[in-house]
Amino acid sequence: MSHAPVVTMVFALTCEARPWIDALKLKKSDARPFDLYTGDSIEVVISGIGSESMATAVGWIAGRSPRPRVWLNVGTAGHATRELGELFLVHGCAASESGRAHYPPLVAAWTGSTDALLCVDHVSDQYPGGAAVDMESMAFFNAAMRFSNSELVQSMKVVSDNEQSGVEHLNSKRITELMQPHVDAVMRYAANLLSLVPASFSVTTVLDLESLRASHSIKQQIQRALHQLAALDVDAERVSDVLQDQTNARDMLTRLQALVSNTAPMLGSTKGVVKEATNG
């Protein structure tokens, strides 16, 4: 199973997602209960309308694999004065005008517009407080931030209705048309988000910890010592040498810790310098 990071895009409706599904030639998966389309480093989930569906869909896709994810909710929103079809990144989101707001950290590069978003329970033709209005964003943020850091959880909206042209003018075809021009801009932003995912740090396996007869605490300390040696860039071979002929977990720990203590980091290189031979 791949552990490469993936862009997970969550849409409420298939008609909103259609331009991405087509442009990126995503394949529909057999997975249920949510419609899922996948491609290289990208997955598109259709949650359905409303908070509950959104939260469930986020939990469902996160549970399918432990890959590191950046999350992008893309959808439509109403706004009093913005032009129909305008795309903006959400810079603040609240469930009510007086409620506590969530401000997604805007770390990934984005030069387009941003706006505040009010998340409501019912379809509405009211556009209070100069903010945009949608029905899923708050649930999206709350759910996705359980699985990724908030910098990697973002929402982008396309204006579908405003004071001049209300929700009664909307249908699936119209929604797809409004989303269509934004495929590239959204994907560029998704790539910027993906570039923020930290590289993972792994420790070369020199020891089968699972099969070692030792208490949980000793195993943890051995693991920590192996981590330290990896960070000090001590060769796996050298670590194996130190452990040679050792079967007792406590002795292994003592030897590993001695090697850590005797390894001074060397500036300008990650390699540590072992001060003296370690015989345990």
Partner: protein, 340 residues
Amino acid sequence: MVDTLYIEQAVLELETTAAVVSRYPKARQIVIDRYGEVFNSHAQNFRTQKQNPSLILAEKQNAKVMPAPAQYETGGGAHYYFSHMLNCVYDCRYCFLQGMLRSANYLLFVNYQSFIEEIKSIAARHVDDEKPVWFFSGYDCDSLAYEPVTRFAETFVPAFEDIPNAVLELRTKSTQVRSLLAREPINNVVVAYSLSPEPVAAELEQGAPTLAKRLDALKKLQDHGWRIGIRFDPVVWHAGYDQTYAQAIDSVFTKLDPERIDSVTLGGFRLPKGFFKTMLKLYPEHWLFNAGLSEQAGLVSYQPQLEREVLDAVAAQCRRFVSPDKLFVYYSDEAQQSQP
């Protein structure tokens, strides 16, 4: 370059706010109620945010000046610290702010006048003390690094002219000393530079000026008549540290006049355990968090024997140039013993 400004409603009209905002004409501005909504929200990642921090302009409410821990003392009387800003434009890998704060955004408290009033009222309480009362700035940020935007020193330094029983210590690594060189020095302001040998700075102090540039700034300040302090804190253990520090110490004390240095302080790399755990999670691969450390009584620091060996060696180098009464060495195990 900051591309997002969060501005608290309460400070929208302040002059300092307007001055800061004018530095970033292209930044998006987001008006917020309280900074905590942005700064303290959950699931933030310091390392990720450090790639592109936003700037938050806010009002510091409640106490602005706090009693300083004993280890800040450099021979003065009562000591306090204050933070007009949290976070820093530099990115030192050892910086405890990474472990203490959820956010890497710059949080600037722009109600400078309330800070100054509180400093004055605390100083007034110490007016009969034998020694002056010290106010430290630059523990939760660098005092001067953001000067062109914040005008912090330009505002606070003159205020200390009116508080003769107080000393302001500006802790910095920055070369932004123009405002200090443009005016007459004040005898109750000390500019304390955190220094590291060039190879340590290059590896661990991203974005900060090189040792040579810091020394140039120090020299100018000293020649201009400002009181200066030197901080090797943290001293970082590495292969060949004795030569690395010896070279740096030679260059520091041959460039500057050791007689006219206020104090020199040394301390090993150390962190409260909770901060250390957070920082190890942020940078699991970094050697700094994986070399020579042990934990005692909630503090992660170099193993006691190693710390003594390293600090004693660096202190011995310093003693070649500075008198013992000006040199302060902080050993983690002694700090722990003196804790209540």
